[in-house]
Amino acid sequence: MTFSIVHLLPELLGTYGDQGNVEILSWRLKERSIDHEVIVVHAGDKVPTKADLYLLGGGEDDAQIAAAEILNHGRALAKAHDGGAHFFAVCAGFQLLGSTFPASGERTVEGLGIVAVETISATPRSVGELISTPTIDVPMLTGFENHGGQTRFLENLQPLGNVSVGIGNSESSKVDGVVTDRVVATYMHGPAFARNPELADWILARKLGELAPINAPIFTALHDERIKNVK
């Protein structure tokens, strides 16, 4: 069986290098000789509903709104989610998965409603290194955040990490991201999988089962260097 990854709207949701997450997933699957394909969905393309993993990255305000309009059309992602697909979303992508997010002129835009979170605007922007202690079985998480949103849980949800450096979802909550049975979302750019390879593998393993180890010490070296030098 071919493991299918859908890279959603890279031209709209790719401001902070998050498309690197797709490359890293693909590389890690290739290293393990796991058959896979990457389906890139551009504006105007049909969104597949039967893929295994969907990735959404960060983007500027106009691009995020354009992405919401495109992805809400036909509710393909909600169908994919209900059908058992997994999601990994970063920053604007995280906000998009929620019920609403802010736009310029104090407007509120409807998100995809896949995760019970909402985002309001926050000033000043949260910009800088972000480190958190994960709530899942992976090492410390490290990334770089750059966003003007404050994301709140609308029900009792599990965050991805408890923040020790940076802001994450909001200054008051001291948490970053969210984990549900099929969604992992975060404010960590970097991209997230470059600095946290075990997070990539944790997400893959939820679909593929136990994975063989990869001999790539450079990933661990980068992770450890960031944790050491940012603390």
Binding site: D18, I65, A66, E129, N146, P191, A194, I218, F219, L222
Partner: protein, 406 residues
């Protein structure tokens, strides 16, 4: 009289700064002038033909080329060594009061102020792209500031604008006196949505043109650069020769030729002058470390990395990458993933700099063989006696361009 005294005082301050090695002197001189006479730039610009050059990439090179071209006709002052904020502009104008022309490089966010103060004859808008997003504004914010600043221009001012860049087009298109230029740049990673209305922007498959349902579209350029041949109004034809390597340098040379022709310099004079420049502020200069003879290339953001990698691919086989993430470099290295490093495949690649591990992970996933070393001296030890390119981010480049090795 008062202005002359202030300038003399400020230059003395700059001299002290140089002697005490606390700075290059340019910033101190400019700060003293602006502190004592806040309107000095306006006064110092009066009666001169001022050209302002701004954009994400190519400012210093284009400014240096325009300075060179205008100097064939008359005394010209400039700040092409990169001091492109308020003090640097004040110093350039104060240092050479006999100059009739001023070619001023201007930081993108300082451009509105520079327009107000200098009342330029020509404004050259190069491009706008993502650059150090952790400390600078998103592209759209900069474009909006430019658009607002251009509204108040006198009709005598000509804006030379890049039609290939949707953000430049959007910022300049309301102005009555625009000269549109195309250098053949295709696509734009930040312009997936329309700068006018926010809808998805329609790009042609080859990336050479764009349009939107709202009516926003690429204007027809008057000046067209193709394969080094520049053609313009009234059947003008110019063969552009650049002493600086790379496609971007040819485009910048073309802009300099057009700009100086607007100010009365013949294209043959400007072409000849421009062709003589082979290095600007250390770019493409050489530095020997150990037994390796490095050619220094500056790369600051995804667009400039792509350009530099393309230019370097026709250079020596060996290449060292030096990437830092200090404030001036941008502290977020995510942009490494916006760059396709595959032009490096098959070359001997060595990586160093403070963020060498980030680069190494990027190159690993990009399937580029490389070695990681602690500093440039170790890179030279590894490469040995050969010619090599050294592509560096901002802070490493400027240190190396001053000959300071690690």
């Amino acid at each position: 009289m008062y202005l002359s005294i202030v300038i003399a005082l400020a230059r003395f301050g700059g001299l002290l700064s140089r002697i005490t090695k606390s700075g290059s002197g340019v910033m101190v001189t400019g700060r003293v002038i602006l502190k004592l006479i806040p309107g000095a730039v306006s006064t110092l610009s009066a009666g001169r033909s001022v050209v302002l050059i701004s954009g994400t990439n190519g400012k210093s090179t284009t400014t240096a080329l325009i300075h060179q071209a205008l100097s064939t006709k008359s005394n010209t002052t400039s700040n092409y060594t990169g001091a492109n904020l308020f003090p640097g502009i004040a110093t350039a104008l104060a240092e050479n009061r006999a100059a009739t022309f001023a070619a001023l490089e201007v930081d993108e966010m300082v451009l509105p102020w520079a327009i107000r103060e200098t009342k330029p004859k020509v404004i050259v808008l190069l491009n706008l792209g993502r650059d150090q997003l952790d400390r600078l504004s998103e592209v759209r914010v900069v474009a909006a500031k430019w658009k607002a600043a251009l509204v108040g221009l006198p009709a005598s001012c000509t804006v030379l604008a890049d039609a290939d860049d949707p953000f430049v087009t959007w910022a300049a298109r309301d102005w009555v006196n625009v000269v549109w230029f195309t250098g053949g740049v295709t696509g734009h990673i930040d312009a997936s949505t329309c700068p006018e209305c926010g809808a998805v922007l329609n790009w042609t498959a080859d990336g050479t043109s764009y349009s939107c349902a709202c009516g926003f579209k690429k204007p027809s350029p008057e000046w067209i650069l193709r394969d080094g041949n520049l053609s313009g109004p009234n059947s003008q034809r110019v063969s552009v020769v650049s002493g600086i390597p790379g496609k971007a340098a040819i485009s910048n040379a073309a802009r300099a030729i057009i700009t100086s022709s607007l100010l009365g310099v013949s294209t043959s004079d400007s072409c000849a002058a421009i062709a003589k420049i082979s290095s600007v502020d250390g770019r493409f200069s050489t530095l020997k470390i150990g037994s390796t003879n490095f050619r220094l290339l500056l790369s600051k953001n995804p667009a400039s990395w792509r350009e530099t990698l393309a230019t370097s691919s026709s250079g020596p086989k060996a290449v060292a990458l030096v990437v830092n993430a200090n404030t001036q470099d941008g502290k977020d290295t995510s942009w490494l993933w916006d760059v396709d490093f595959s032009p490096l495949r098959g070359r001997t690649v060595v990586v160093t700099g403070d963020r060498r591990l980030d680069v190494s992970v990027r190159l690993t996933v990009n399937e580029i063989e490389h070695k990681v070393v602690d500093n440039e001296s170790d890179a030279a030890n590894l490469l040995g006696n050969c010619e090599a390119d050294l592509i560096a981010s901002y802070t490493a480049f400027h240190r190396l361009a001053k000959g300071v090795k690690r």
